[in-house]
Symmetry: C2
Subunit: 758 residues, 2 copies
């Protein structure tokens, strides 16, 4: 069989699915999402499932309109193109789920393949993370008694994607134990909805011979064209029915001579470069290449990506697979700079959070890219510069000058969050954006980024903050009143420490840029003064207060109200209770201390941990990772490991049904590099600094880094640290407190106490 | 002409409309709402208007789903039956707009009457408040050149309504200057929606001869049947088309012999008593009576209502008409006790606030009924007892024991408010309910009401409060945390003074009832202790604080942000700004002091006025009235008059398009009786107490009262007060501080300083 993608499974690289029952299929659809810049697909099966209709229109009947309702219980098709948003009557804009083109189904003896049937056995799917190729194998006892082996392979070409071409390639190999007539259908199904809403103003379907072409016009006016070609031994005939079109090819399979069918799909949009060619031309361009040729180029592109990103953990297969799964999704989702988008909360793998961009971008995702692919990272950071006008509109709507970044941003930067307590009050996002831009400058050692491209963002953020602060009667300092910090269980509080510190950061960054460039001199004086005087309030005993009078709230009754700890506290306590008790959704003061380590003594940080951690529900998927890293810093090894395990399990253990927790993927990488390897970010240190604290089961940890333009290979063992770099100049590095100079292109070695066992 | 209802307009009793252009028609539709217990109709014209379709389905596309959008710009038909609610996909339940049955249109020379046509002149409508009869007169130059006079009269029979029968009677008199053929159409139109939503699961239309019958089944399963009969000189023929049915009668009108057409409509529901008879039988029952007979009985019923409610003001026609307009709507809307509903926020005259019940019931409406019709008042107060189970469900949903009354209650007491900041946090409503029940007991002098029927409400309210309070770390007293007081521009505050005091009231009332009845002894100890210890916080200088640290908020920038004072501040400042500045939507601490006068010194009250009034936007229609009354109490005559004028103008000057501000109607009565006549409520005093402060222009103010079972006629002039009562025992009364005993059936007279001119 021509099946070089179907090598033996390497458990350090492959995720395997053998369970297709209940809701697990949907979770694997998220986990098995494949893609390349410009095109992402959920990991659905190749055949429609009888009881899982995809054209449901239900958005109008949620119990609470501000929350998503997911009606597709068993399976959800998903085809997402970054930047293609649709207009929604009550939710502003959302990422559109485009027509499903994976449809490739054999029919034998009048019966189509049905994964649910008892006739199907030995059914398994494997996602090989190395080359992001999904392989599905099964045995089918057909109604006529034949024993048929099916092997599906598919990938979204990273090679094509890197060149701006959206290409998905599928191959189906059919073997049999007796001569059998087979009909194969391959098509496109536009009868799909997004969160139960139909965004297609128009659907044009054309099917002819082996080709099916489907063009949809979205309600925001984009035109997306999808074209599939079925490559089969015999001529195909085409059909169209409503919003579906397919080609049908017939063949006889005889034992020992497997039937090999290919399907290729290209996608174009009206936003593409005008000379990019149509879908048909693109398919023609690939006509000379076989599946194996296309796959080879694709796998090479992935290999190149892994070369500068792979994290190798020896001694812990689970950890190894978890970190690679995270990295694979991070590599998949980084958009083309030209698409002017960021990475949505579900990593283009589902419809929860409507395809919107959060503070995840700067705080959870950006570091991975900045330290592995700094040029690529610019695509993310620049999105905020491109969407500045949206942020200006958001500020203007609140009667404020400057720019207010959206809590839930669409592709243009406009606020889409339907819940006012976040949209209006969770204002730290604007500073997080500035922090991200500054992180680009520091990590690349290039301040000019802030002084040129990003300066307009810095200045408008500072103008926003200047208008947003207040001086309360009787106070001699400014305050930021009525905000929600990262902890979303404390609404509308005053002087949230995280928000204040980040606002100070943003104001200072703007003042610095103004000083360097000579712009906005008068304003800059105000910005610097405000940045200097915004307070971080402490209790008499020194505890940093999350917000004014936070310590005056009563404790939440976890014992009485949180009976089932496997589910979030918020599932067992109403919002109004969360809002009037001391309970945190996620790290808040600890997040602040994580970012601004040098400003808080280790005792400050310990005090904060002791106070806040027991009050934290970790209901947010973003909480565990920060706690794991803080625990590493504080020497709390057991806690560091416990939070690491929690964070790793989020998608891997069934949580990906509505998409990938892509911020958690970024956090998994951070937990390894910033947490267990103890690296300090460029925001904290100008010198590459590590202070490893390897988990007990890990014998070796290796990863590549780019530190201010120099590529570095890091190797951490129980006994020491080895840094190998290829730079043309020498590199300073500090490991476990010991500063050394590594000569150009050389290796530095440190002996350390090694791991501290949990 | 047989037109005894069309007497000369008495400007003290009649509201006249001569403007039918733009949006004024819609405002008059609200202002001219007619009804009797069980049936209310908006004051629409008798003909459909060309550019005002009534079957619009638009609920799905509001910009903000939590706010109503009113798309019917020019005219909105409205037919409302208290208790008939429909299910809504996102708004829980709402009062259903039922089929429109006022349709009665002449057609001459192939052209139907069109109020917008230039051919119509001398067009006016008059609502006579005495008998709630609407008269419409116009002259029509028909296409054929005839000059036709039309006179419409209509009423919803209060006589029938009092007996549980819903009957609407219409008469059309057509006169002409030359012989003219006329076709009259009379029908029912079920192509109507409620706030853009269609609640009819099924519509059955039957038209035969002069009769049209329309039965609808709502989405909550109620069946409502409407039947109209057209009484015309010649036989009619019937038509049905979609959701519309009508009868058509033809006749010739000759000069001097007006054509008189009648239309009668009855309505029944599946909730009516089973032996109530069908719509057809009801129509038969009235067959022997003429229009004039029916109108006489109706007018008598209204006369009886006015006898115990009319407020007579001499010297100020505008004030006279304003107070009578308010009282007429209050008399119209009081429901039958058997309907187990209260009065919705729009007085069954529109669809804003979805037909729901607010704290208006107890605080703004109940006093009028308690002091004019105490038996009728029970219908309102008892609604809370009937809907206790809904309140228990609301508490249970928040994990709390007892009962939490809904901020926006439907007919069963369930919370329908889609905005969590009110539904979850504006919790004072539960205490307001208890205050209302206690007001019934005090005003009627009958504590047994609290010990029997209402006891379960008191106990469950106390149980709710006991679980809802917290003790903050370091405090030696309980607090109510995270609430919104009456001022809806300060969300989620702690120890709101109004909320705390009302909660104390509710806890004490429960403890008292427990003590009297011997029930709940152990709980009652806790209730009393909590009631005693809930704090009212003050600033160092004695100012009663609206909530903890309210004085620490910065002032709202009214000068900078509130450019157009004719529109609410909230239309010019975003919610997030309201939420973090010192600005009030309406009276809060002043409302508290209004209710609990004896607990605050006059200096306390003056201090509070000076502090809070300048910070109050009066964006709520409920604010002006409380301020007018407080100003009376504080001797601020100019302010009392200014707020009175504002409050009177709300509906009278064009604000009734989406319904009547029925709470403001109750407040108008309170401003006269509690404000200018200075009466103290039975909650404040056991003795009837007045301290009049007549506005400069008023020469005489007269009104009837029921004080603890005794009917009293009050007459206030510039020179003194006269109280005349018909009680069998003597009556104590205090006027301007002077206590006297008025003998049984006698008159008491006090000379006073009279008015203080504004």
């Amino acid at each position: 069989m021509p099946c070089h993608t179907h090598a033996a499974h390497d458990p350090a690289w492959c995720i395997q699915q053998t369970d297709f029952a209940g809701s697990s299929l949907k979770a694997y659809e998220g986990l098995f999402a494949q893609g390349a810049p410009g095109l992402h697909i959920r990991g659905s099966l190749e055949e429609p499932i009888a009881d899982a209709p995809q054209g449901l229109r239900y958005w109008r009947t949620p119990g609470n309109v501000t929350a998503e309702v997911f009606r597709e219980a068993r399976s959800k098709f998903g085809t997402y193109l970054p930047g293609i948003y649709g207009s929604h009557p009550i939710l502003n804009n959302e990422l559109v789920n485009l027509p499903w083109f994976l449809w490739l189904v054999p029919e034998i003896d009048g019966s189509a393949l049905d994964a649910d049937s008892d006739a199907v056995a030995e059914h398994e799917r494997t996602l090989d993370l190395r080359d992001n190729t999904l392989v599905r194998a099964l045995t089918w006892r057909t109604p006529g008694g034949a024993r048929v082996s099916l092997l599906y392979e598919r990938f979204v070409s990273m090679d094509a994607g890197a060149r701006g071409v959206r290409l998905c390639v599928q191959r189906l190999t059919i073997d049999t134990d007796r001569a059998t007539d087979v009909t194969v259908r391959a098509g496109i199904d536009a009868d799909v909805t997004t969160n139960g809403y139909d965004h297609f103003k128009r659907v044009d379907l054309a099917a002819e011979g082996e080709r099916v072409r489907c063009a949809v016009q979205t309600d925001l006016g984009d035109r997306v064209e999808i074209e599939s070609i079925l490559l089969a031994p015999h001529a195909a005939e085409a059909h169209a029915e409503g919003r579906r079109g397919w080609s049908e090819a017939r063949a006889q399979v005889t034992p020992g001579t497997p039937l090999v069918i290919e399907k290729r799909t290209t996608v174009t949009t009206s936003r593409d470069a005008p000379d990019g060619g149509g879908t048909g031309e693109l398919l023609e361009a690939f006509a000379g290449a076989g599946f194996d040729d296309l796959h080879r180029a694709h796998a090479d592109a992935w290999r190149a990506k892994w070369a500068h990103a792979d994290v190798r953990i020896q001694g812990d297969d689970r950890a190894q697979l978890a970190v690679r799964t995270s990295i694979a999704h991070l590599l998949r989702t980084l958009p083309h700079a030209s698409d002017r988008v960021a990475i949505d909360a579900k990593g283009y793998a589902g419809e929860a959070y409507w395809g919107r961009f959060f503070w995840d971008t700067e705080m959870y995702l950006l570091p991975f890219y900045l330290y592995t692919d700094p040029a690529g990272a610019r695509a993310l950071a620049d999105f905020r510069i491109h969407s500045l006008e949206g942020a200006q509109r958001n500020a203007h709507k609140l009667g404020l000058p400057g720019a207010k970044y959206a809590w839930e941003s669409d592709q243009l930067g406009d606020e889409c969050c339907p819940n006012w307590q976040y949209a209006d009050h969770e204002v730290h996002i604007t500073s997080d954006v500035v922090y991200g831009l500054a992180h680009v400058a520091r990590a690349t050692g290039d301040d000019s980024y802030l002084d040129t491209h990003a300066a307009c963002v810095l200045f408008d953020a500072a103008r926003y903050w200047t208008a947003r602060v207040s001086v309360r009667p009787g106070d001699d300092h400014p305050s930021i009143l009525g905000v929600m910090g990262p902890d979303e269980y404390t609404p509308i509080a005053d002087n949230n420490a995280y928000t204040n510190r980040l606002a100070s950061f943003a104001l200072e960054a703007a003042a610095d840029a103004a000083a360097r460039t000579g712009q906005c001199r008068d304003e800059a004086r105000t910005w610097r003064e405000l940045g200097r005087t915004l307070p971080i309030h402490r209790r008499a005993d020194g505890l940093v207060l999350q917000s004014d009078a936070f310590d005056r709230l009563p404790l939440a009754d976890f014992d009485g109200r949180w009976k089932d700890r496997t589910r979030p506290f918020a599932s067992q306590a109403p919002q109004e209770y969360l809002y009037r008790t001391q309970c945190l959704k996620q790290a808040d003061v600890l997040m602040l201390m994580w970012l601004f380590d040098s400003e808080f003594s280790i005792e400050d940080q310990r005090t904060a941990w002791r106070y806040y951690e027991p009050r934290t529900t970790h209901d947010s998927s973003l909480s565990a990772a920060i706690h794991s890293m803080m625990a590493c810093r504080l020497g709390l090894n057991e806690e560091a490991w416990r939070f690491w395990e929690e964070a790793c399990a989020i998608d891997l253990d069934g949580g990906a049904a509505e998409g990938i927790h892509i911020a958690a993927c970024g956090a998994v990488w951070q937990m390894v590099v910033f947490g267990f390897a103890g690296m300090r970010s460029a925001m904290e240190d100008e010198v590459l600094t590590l202070d490893p604290r390897l988990p007990a089961g890990w014998t070796t940890l290796e990863f590549p880094l780019v530190w201010r333009g120099t590529s570095v290979q890091v190797r951490v063992t129980k006994d020491g640290v080895e840094l190998r770099h290829s730079g043309a100049a020498s590199l300073s590095a500090r490991v476990a407190g010991e500063l050394r100079e590594i000569p150009a292109g050389g290796v530095g070695r440190w002996a350390t106490g090694g791991t501290t066992a949990p």
